[in-house]
Symmetry: C2
DNA sequence: TATTTTTCCGTTACCGCACACGGAATTAAA
DNA sequence: TTTAATTCCGTGTGCGGTAACGGAAAAATA
């Protein structure tokens, strides 16, 4: 059981022992723009011009400089760069508005985290919220963002066509954008951070059924009049249904629609559901973030015989988990998605490097009453 | 459902509308050292002296400058700072050595992530490995690290007494250090990143038993001659046992010791275990990262009737999960722990700010065959 | 060929900070 | 009082870039 490599044992410490050029530390790269200029026989102004494609450089010099840059392995020092060019980068985030305790609040938290990171590089972040049920407000938001001439955009798309129109404009203005939550089928985006929706439904079904003898699964859904707006949880429901029909061919999947705005209405619907089927051991799923609606009902009715699975780490959901009205929660960490999105754009602006992966499917964490405390 | 705040709707874009002083953006802080100097009626050299406690400043000037700094809310620009002071910060990490596919490899991955972050701030990272079963090699490592005069240290402690001695020296030299994986009872550390061990055992038992009628739980352990070295999984086992005795008072917990170095020996022990108890439906737990040993055995023996739970996202463990020889894995993401540790020290060195929380218990992710793909 | 335009490039002044250097003012020693 | 030692502080240079400015060389036009 020897050390796999000698890194620790040898040069212990000194981060660049003189004469050593082992690439391990990759930090000794002290080649400056002046070195490049000298080696290319030009002035640093010229080098800077090719570095930023500012033109006014002869083809010959340009090639020479590019060659030298590659040979020397020159990489600009971005402290100096940021210091000298006092640009005001701005990244705008377009997300649905929300009330306290709702899903998109998590995303905003992530934006705050991202702001902290970006702030270190002199990049500011602003969030533009829109009503996810109101097309016009979305268009409004897009216009405002465009008007603010951002250096990058993070967007959680809800309206397909309008979003496509919007990102087309971004592309024309060479503004990089990254999708969070869900993405569209264009491929001009810099990156995407979201949950694998189909798989999350599949996973959810597995946790719900858990090898038991399940005859019926109740899917509770939000009654909404969708007017061309995309429902991201649709795919999730497909995954759920697929799992059931693969593993429990005789199991029914029944939909119940509830109203997010009226508690009485919800109770009535759920009462009906329970009345229609005498078996008190029910398997219940909610594919969006509002499983706390179900938990609230169960708590009030004193029903503890159901197995309930939901999504997302909302405070209300977690407390339902702790109280035992919900057995498991699947978390997608939309905060981390937002933060990663901002980080990706920041790095793109500062380091001129794209993210390693374009499509990033964040992990699906399974929470139960014993580990939920550690998810904030 | 109106926007919770008007941020998005109002100033849409402009990152600092003139006249607005809302702290939200916290970026507009353009007060330089020169502004401070002017306001205090001294030169920037003097301001610099008090900023760095370099002395040679009269009490009177010092106080005045400090006052002005506070009043103006001056915060140094750390690009300029790093650029001007070409210091060579070094963070050393002391962790156990490992072979490919073993637990500590994850930690090293995290160190690499941390290196990328720290590298941006001109900070280099080096890793010093030690044999976790050899006290002397640990002492060796500590000495080497001390000799390299690091600006900060990350340490995964295995030997209690020696570690305490070591961190005492660090403290004397004003070198900040952070614990990962486990921590000791001193409190001079800058931060700690690790898993809540007791809770992880408790959680593990919950997942293993899963509401079933469990009569006996088999805990597989590594036979090791411990000579005063601390076993971090001990606490985990305690949590496990506590859960069982709380929820399954009639359930036995039986230990089986296997040898990590000899497969035959392992098979023999496990054969014995299966022979001793005719019931093929066994509940098996391994409290360290090597549940793949059990999976390997089950695969070879063609046994599929057991419920097995283990820890950590090693490649072998994940494939056992996929193949169905292990039902669940609890992940502690030691990579993230290491990366966070490095980030914490980096921020401390650059921003002079400690981490928000000193003790950070990372989340315990539950992996099964349907979500494991998204954990790398 | 003389003049204008275009193309291309070097020079230079910062950006905000760190730190060396040298000098004025004050105090101690002679 | 003269000289030496302290104490305190301002100035200046450079870190590695950015970008404005102006001018020389080459090309186009007269």
């Amino acid at each position: 059981m020897k050390a796999r490599n000698g890194r620790g044992r040898s040069g212990a410490g000194r981060y660049r022992s003189p004469g050593t050029n082992s690439g391990v530390m990759e930090e000794g790269n002290k080649i400056t723009i002046n070195d490049v200029a000298k080696a290319a026989g030009v002035s640093k102004g010229t080098v800077d011009r090719v570095l930023h494609d500012r033109g006014e450089v002869s083809q010959k010099s340009r090639e020479k400089i590019l060659k030298v840059i590659k040979e020397l392995g020159y990489r600009p020092n971005f402290y100096a760069s940021i210091l000298a060019s006092r640009k005001n980068y701005l990244i705008s985030c377009i997300i649905p508005e929300f009330n306290n305790g709702e899903f998109w609040e998590l995303t905003e938290k992530g934006i705050d985290q991202g702001r902290e990171y970006a702030g270190r590089f002199g990049i500011s972040i602003n969030a533009v919220l829109y009503d996810q049920y109101d097309l016009e407000s979305f268009q409004d938001a897009c216009e405002k963002v465009l008007a603010s001439r951002p250096s990058g955009v993070v967007i959680a798309p809800m309206f397909r066509n309008e979003t496509l129109k919007f990102v087309k404009e971004l592309t024309e203005n060479h503004i990089p954008y990254v999708y969070i939550d869900s993405k569209l089928e264009d491929d001009g985006y810099l990156a995407y951070y979201g949950m694998p929706m189909y798989q999350s439904g599949y996973l959810c079904a597995d946790i719900l059924t858990d090898g038991r003898d399940v005859r019926k699964v109740h899917v509770i859904r939000i009654a909404r009049d969708k007017r061309g707006l995309s429902d991201p949880t649709l795919t999730r429901r497909t995954g759920l249904v697929d799992y059931i029909s693969e593993h429990y061919p005789d199991c029914d999947v029944e939909n119940t629609f509830i109203d997010p705005k009226s508690r009485e209405e919800r109770y009535r619907k759920l009462d009906e559901m329970f009345a229609s089927d005498p078996d008190p051991d029910k398997y219940i799923v909610m594919c969006n973030s509002r499983v706390h609606f179900v938990a609230e009902y169960l708590r009030d009715r004193g029903i503890r015989s159901c197995r309930v699975v939901g999504f997302d780490v909302l405070e209300k959901n977690v407390s339902a988990l702790k109280d035992g009205y919900v057995q498991a929660l699947i978390a997608q960490h939309s905060d981390r998605q937002a933060a990663s999105a901002i980080t990706a754009i920041t790095d793109y602006l500062i380091l001129h490097s794209g993210p390693q992966k374009k499509d990033n499917y964040t992990q699906m964490d399974i929470l139960n009453k014993y580990n939920c405390d550690y998810y904030l």
